[in-house]
């Protein structure tokens, strides 16, 4: 079968660097094919997607060599916009692909760009929103959507454009099990319909079965086959024997149904589990004080936490946010962890534990998403909190990187720290021996 996309001898060196982060990459993508690219964080998977979409080098600088073609025609002279006529791209950070403030407006925006008639937009919009489970949110402000719902929205918007090639950079990252299953079925249907799909993903348990071909991206090259997984270990749910460190009762917020009561003990790990948009992040924000509950009570280490400010609560409670970009301020990786009051030896130890020592002098924003997440965790653990809140931190992590984070978290609970986390990744919960609380 003739390939739609052909990548030949692709190499890329970022601006100011001689060393290529992609080297001699060969890849073809035929109509009806789903090709999976997996590999460690920072190995160049997103760079590959960006090179095919045209983001690299036009918007990043750097030196690109080799050839990228669509149906036999070189794509290199074309801009992202010109390539978008043939290639639909879902970027890793979907927030930069959102341009309006309402769900229905956002779906319409892409169709308007394609000059679809108003009548067809109305019909297609209804179908798309129903297909992606966003019908009841059609009039919602986008700011009210959860990360998973935003991801579903952008997927709906891009798939609506119906280009022959789809490039999807971790499209399953924030999706709950049902949402992921729905997307999988949709991608298989699209592939049967003739679309060619290049998928970069870490959740191999979900996607490996539907891929026609798989590649491992490592050290800048693509090798056939999937990366070797780190052996998944399962820990039994640990008995909660320590003193109670956090207790919440009938916390209420906005339009959410009643949030579950929590009783968390020292050394315990609690997983908040629920579908996209059910209020997991909201509950974490209520616990740390970023949101103020409409009712209920919250006790942290025996004190009425609702009378404490966020800054006061932060002395005992750390929060690793869903998006690490919002949490990294320093001008170097080492500086991010070496906060006031943090012993330099402990900071070094954390960087080593999370495999960030080689990047210690780099700017945090130059790291891959996975490395940023590890750094955000290191920066929070450095302050030695008694309770740590983790919001979807397993997103964007390859098995090795995830294993490093879980080791660090195990060490934290082993010393009596309490963890409350949200994650759609079953491996994280089982490895940490988490008690599951359903929302």
């Amino acid at each position: 079968m003739d390939s739609l996309i052909a990548v030949r001898g692709l190499g890329f060196a970022p601006p100011g660097k001689d060393r290529q982060i992609l080297h001699n990459v060969q890849l073809t993508l035929a109509p009806g094919e789903i090709v999976l690219v997996a590999g460690p964080t920072g190995s160049g998977k997103s760079t590959l997607i960006n090179a095919v979409a045209g983001v690299i080098p036009a918007h990043t600088g750097g030196c690109l060599e080799g050839e990228v073609s669509f149906a036999g025609r070189s794509l290199l002279p074309l801009s992202v916009r010109e390539r978008a006529r043939h290639i639909g791209t879902v970027l890793q950070n979907v927030e930069v692909q959102i341009f309006t403030d309402r769900v229905r407006e956002e779906v319409a925006f892409g169709l308007e760009n394609l000059n679809v008639s108003p009548e067809r937009i109305a019909a297609q919009m209804g179908e798309l929103l129903a297909e992606f489970g966003l019908q009841s949110q059609r009039d919602w402000p986008i700011a009210r959507l959860s990360a998973g719902q935003k991801q579903r929205l952008v997927l709906a918007c891009v798939l609506a454009m119906d280009q022959p090639v789809l490039l999807l950079d971790e499209p399953f990252a924030y999706l709950d099990r049902a949402g992921a299953q729905l997307l999988l079925e949709l991608l298989v249907r699209r592939a049967h319909g003739g679309q060619a799909i290049l998928l970069v993903e870490h959740r191999l348990d979900l996607v490996a079965a539907v891929a026609h071909r798989s590649y491992c991206c490592a050290e800048g090259t693509l090798r056939p086959g999937l990366p070797q997984g780190v052996e998944a270990t399962t820990a039994p749910v640990r008995p909660a024997a320590g003193p109670v460190v956090l207790e919440s009762r009938i916390l209420a917020y906005g339009g959410y149904p009643p949030l579950p009561d929590l009783t968390v003990r020292a050394g315990e790990t609690v997983l908040l589990k629920g579908d996209n948009g059910c209020g997991k992040t909201t509950l974490l924000k209520l616990l740390c004080g970023l949101l103020r509950p409409a009712g209920g009570s919250l006790t942290i280490l025996g004190k009425d936490a609702l009378k404490q400010s966020v800054a006061e609560r932060s002395r005992t409670l750390g929060f690793v946010l869903q998006n690490p970009n919002h949490q990294l301020f320093a001008d170097s990786v080492a500086g991010e962890v070496a906060q006031p009051g943090v012993a330099p030896e402990f900071a070094e130890q954390l960087l080593e534990q999370l495999n960030l020592l080689p990047e210690r002098e780099q700017h945090p924003q130059s790291l891959s998403q996975g490395q940023k997440r590890r750094l955000a965790l290191a920066a929070v653990l450095a302050r030695r909190p008694r309770i740590c809140l983790l919001d979807e931190i397993t997103v964007g992590q390859d098995p090795r990187s995830l294993s490093l984070m879980l080791d660090a978290l195990e060490a934290f609970t082993g010393k009596g720290g309490a963890l409350i986390l949200t994650s759609h990744d079953p491996q994280a919960a089982s490895r940490l021996g988490a008690r599951v609380v359903a929302l």
């Binding site: 916009r81 407006e105 760009n113």
Partner: protein, 229 residues
């Protein structure tokens, strides 16, 4: 002031009409010399603000305090309290439309309005990105402030840390935003040179006539007050 929108009349008014009125009001703020004409404008704008935008009590207190200080300073320095009152009213006439327009106009409506008047595509693109930019920056600043709080740094009480804790990361975000958003826009198929359809074509509705008549009546009343003064 929270820019969260309430179900409201102003949100459904033709964006071009709102833009025209905002320009007219800005011109009035500079031209009017009558305190009462300005007070009438401020009154109407305040009513529109409170029925259209969710305003937090602390914002009202903050703006009120700022205006009092502004008036007191101007009055003390000039020795003319009428002039000081006029200055405060003018300031409100300038500020309120600038807040109301973005708070009651969806970015999509704005693009449709600009397309309807055949504005050059590059201008539509620039205005759209600017319209999208302001709330994003507001959101980013909020997120950075929250991330600082989570590290125990309350920026409101430690202005010495504003530069390293807020401005530096915010400037970094603004710079990276420009490129990110351009890429995002291109991946969504936006091409300023290509024809676009519109899912909700801009139409003149009865509400627009009502709004236009109301605006005309207001401007006539303001003109009358100015003339008699």
């Amino acid at each position: 002031m929270s820019l969260a929108k309430l179900p409201q009349f102003l949100g459904s008014v033709n964006p071009l009409l709102k833009i025209a009125l905002s320009i007219a009001l800005t011109a009035c703020a500079f031209a009017l010399k009558s305190v009462w004409a300005n007070v009438l404008l401020v009154g109407v704008l305040l009513v529109l603000t409170f029925v259209s935008v969710r305003v937090e009590a602390k914002s009202v207190v903050g703006v009120g305090a700022f205006l009092l200080i502004f008036t007191a300073l101007t009055g003390t320095l000039s020795g003319d309290w009428g002039y000081a009152g006029l200055g405060a009213a003018r300031l409100l006439v300038l500020i309120l439309p600038a807040l109301l327009l973005p708070a009651t106009t969806a970015p999509g409506d704005l693009v449709r309005a600009f397309q309807a008047v055949r504005l050059p595509p590059f201008l539509v693109l620039s205005l759209m990105l600017t319209w999208r930019f302001l709330p994003v920056i507001q959101q980013e600043a909020q997120r950075i402030i929250e991330a600082n709080l989570l590290r125990g740094v309350d920026l409101a009480r430690r202005p010495g840390l504003w530069f390293s804790g807020l401005f530096t990361p915010l400037i970094f975000r603004i710079v990276s935003y420009a490129d990110d958003v351009t890429v995002g826009l291109e991946t969504r198929g936006y091409d300023p040179e290509s024809p676009r359809s519109t899912s909700q074509p801009l139409r003149w509705r009865p509400g627009d006539t009502l709004f236009a008549l109301g605006a005309a009546a207001l401007l006539i009343a303001v003109g009358g007050l100015e003339w008699t003064a």
